[in-house]
Symmetry: C2
Amino acid sequence: MKNPQMDSDKNQEVDTNLIQGDLNVDALNLNFRHKVKGEDLVIAVAQDHESSEVLMVAFMNRESLQKTLETGKAHYWSTSRQKPWFKGESSGHVQEVMEIFTDCDKDAVLLKVKQTGAACHEGYFSCFFREISPVTPNSDKKNRRYKLEIVKEKVFEPEKVYGEK
Amino acid sequence: MKNPQMDSDKNQEVDTNLIQGDLNVDALNLNFRHKVKGEDLVIAVAQDHESSEVLMVAFMNRESLQKTLETGKAHYWSTSRQKPWFKGESSGHVQEVMEIFTDCDKDAVLLKVKQTGAACHEGYFSCFFREISPVTPNSDKKNRRYKLEIVKEKVFEPEKVYGEK
């Protein structure tokens, strides 16, 4: 049985009753509440540990979080391929994890990472390279129309890293 | 019919055929692929526009994104209450949206916000106030155990903002 205890002096929550055979991350009692194709997941946000630029958003299951903690390299769960995803396995663009946090609901984690190369498979350092901006800035807000605009520079050419399609 | 065009000189994607009656955000062709209790959602990450601290992770449906763009204040979709959620409506802790980005998959948005008060209902500026850290840092990585540790200071007392339970 899990028995999380709150030690308010030390501001720590420690599971004192870890069952042999469980994943060690189970002691954290995270809430893998996001269900995608039958998999129980937390949302994972990766942020550059120096610039604090948000690099990407993905998902982790229990095993990928365990693997991330064990290896110090970001591992996710690919919801499209429905399998574990070691970030950078094919591109070399691994993420060295410097710190990990979780939120109040414990259904999301925040990774502060040292990014090799770039996070985005499209060649940008961050996946958030498109800004949503108004087409007609001065029109009344209710009827304003919006566009996407690429606001970052590419740092590599995807064909050179992943090969031609 | 939607007819997004890529103008590579200007790095802009503009939908030139917005249908009357659609939400204006539909022109962005975001991928509301995250299904929670029948609602189609994108993940939304809010980040402090000055310090770049990641404040929270939530979801938006089409209407909440539209409302966010129209009002300049962050609106989300509450997956627990299954209704629109104007952040700060009861607490006053609104988020003024300075910039919005979307990622390569267009299934997540990143909001750079000016946060009034604090983002977290538990009284912390960011919801990511707990760090995941090893209980036994020097043990071999495979058998290491982990704990959660509160690493931030509260900026308000929730009872004073939300009232006693």
